[in-house]
Amino acid sequence: MRLQLGYIPLCDAAPLIAAHELGFARAEGLDLDLRAEPSWATLRDRLALGHLDGAHMLAPLALASRLSLSGPPSDLIVPMQLSINGNAITLSRSLWDVMAPESEAPLDVARAFARVAEARRASGRPLTLGTVHPFSCHSYQLRLFAEAGGLDPAAFRLVVVPPQYSVETLARGLVDGFCAGSPWNDVAAAAGHGRIAVLGSALAPDAPEKVLAVSERLDGAILPLVRAVARAGRWCADPENRAELTHRLAHRTYLDLDAAIIERALPGGAAEQTLIGAQLGFGAEIQEPRLAYAQWVIAQMRATRQIVDPTGLEAAVSTIYRPDLYRAVAGEI
């Protein structure tokens, strides 16, 4: 059976890419057509309107799509989680120099950021930070970063910066920093424009990052797909496979970026050794789409007032997140 799956070219699309490239999908009788989508909005719309059968999706966007908070009406469900962590906040070199934090500990960095952000707001030139989509862990991690330093999140401007623009917007001073997923923080740091200030995992440990979202219409194809992608995710999590995974992701069909940068950002890579806190995770222990993950996202949505009325939310969430589907195949993987 042929399936159209959408993804955004990021390191955490690895389980879908590996499922296709390494034959995990074929072993389940599935032929995957992987389509790189130009934006999260277009990926969401194409999944909702049936142009895609499934997708690599921001966990908050998947919930927002099905809850009618974002885009066209959707019948998506989440039978599996693809990844946790992997995001980081990168600040411009000049902002970092002005902040001069006492240490690189997340709390010191957050306090130093809060001081500068307050001063800039008072002078009428508030700082601008970039996120990837309103419905993303990135947005929530930026708010948590502000709050960790005792700063009112309204003290800075929050704008959306597509990852492929992040380096340019930082270099041109259009933003003072951004929160993005792997490998974009390392790309900005390697280009000399930014400095990775704090990992997302230091602000929200083991945050649900990307999920596998599929249309309910897929029905009988859902379980074979989950088996294939779950096996692929476990393969990606194995440090022994890092070199091959790096090579596959770096290829121009997928991320089309420098392999050395991708390698840093993958589990067990150099990025993990230089900063405290667990990084991007794909393994068996994170694949079940537990309701606790969804509830964390919902709590963040409420804290940012993306959801005002929580009536009926709990029941709705348990029809979207489907740990039962994952558990039905987990024993066979």
Partner: protein
């Protein structure tokens, strides 16, 4: 339709397609149509323009920049929502098939929005058709050149007339159930290798 008071922003990675839509909207009487380049400072430009409607191609990476205008953000004073009425899935399908998404300022009446979307769908579909025809025409031209070269090779190597060379190509193509251009390509490639 008289929409002289409206400002429509057009964002499209293809400048040619943007120009075609711009022309269509002007012809329909939209007062102000501004094509905004698909670059990193897009939000600043859109905010400064204060358009009533933003029509953006689905392939533009900048779509996510506009998503924040959909009421969630406190930064933009003029909240913007997804263009089409959520209940109108047919319209939404037609728009997405044509490669369009659009955002509209709250309060613009539905029928006014629909007429703009109709124009955008017509123009984008026409553009896609033109591109298809153009690439087919280019393909045909390339095929014809290939056949001319293959005929020339047969004529000089086998001492055939032009007519005989063409008949040989055609017979080979018929026997092998392939296109004449494919046979011609094989001859040209072989001649290049051996020549």
């Amino acid at each position: 339709m008289t929409e002289t008071s409206l400002t429509v922003a057009v964002i499209d990675p293809s400048r040619a397609r943007a120009a075609i839509l711009e022309e269509g909207l002007r012809a329909a009487g939209v007062g102000r149509v501004v094509v905004i380049p698909d670059t990193a400072d897009l939000l600043e430009r859109v905010t400064a323009l204060k358009p009533d409607v933003v029509v953006i191609h689905l392939e533009s990476p900048s779509r996510d920049i506009l998503e924040q205008m959909s009421g969630v953000s406190r930064q933009v004073e003029r909240p913007v929502a997804m263009f089409v009425d959520r209940s109108d899935t047919t319209m939404m399908q037609a728009a997405v098939d044509a490669g369009i998404s659009a955002y509209v300022v709250d309060g613009l009446r539905a029928e006014r929005i629909k007429s703009i979307l109709d124009i955008a769908i017509l123009r984008f579909n026409a553009f896609a058709r033109l591109q298809r025809e153009l690439s087919e025409a280019r393909g045909e031209l390339a095929d014809r050149k290939l056949i001319e070269r293959a005929k020339g090779i047969l004529m000089s190597m086998k001492g055939l007339t032009e007519d005989e060379a063409y008949k040989q190509l055609r017979r080979k193509a018929m026997n092998e159930k392939r296109k004449i251009a494919d046979i011609a390509r094989a001859i040209v490639t072989t001649a290049d290798l051996l020549g």
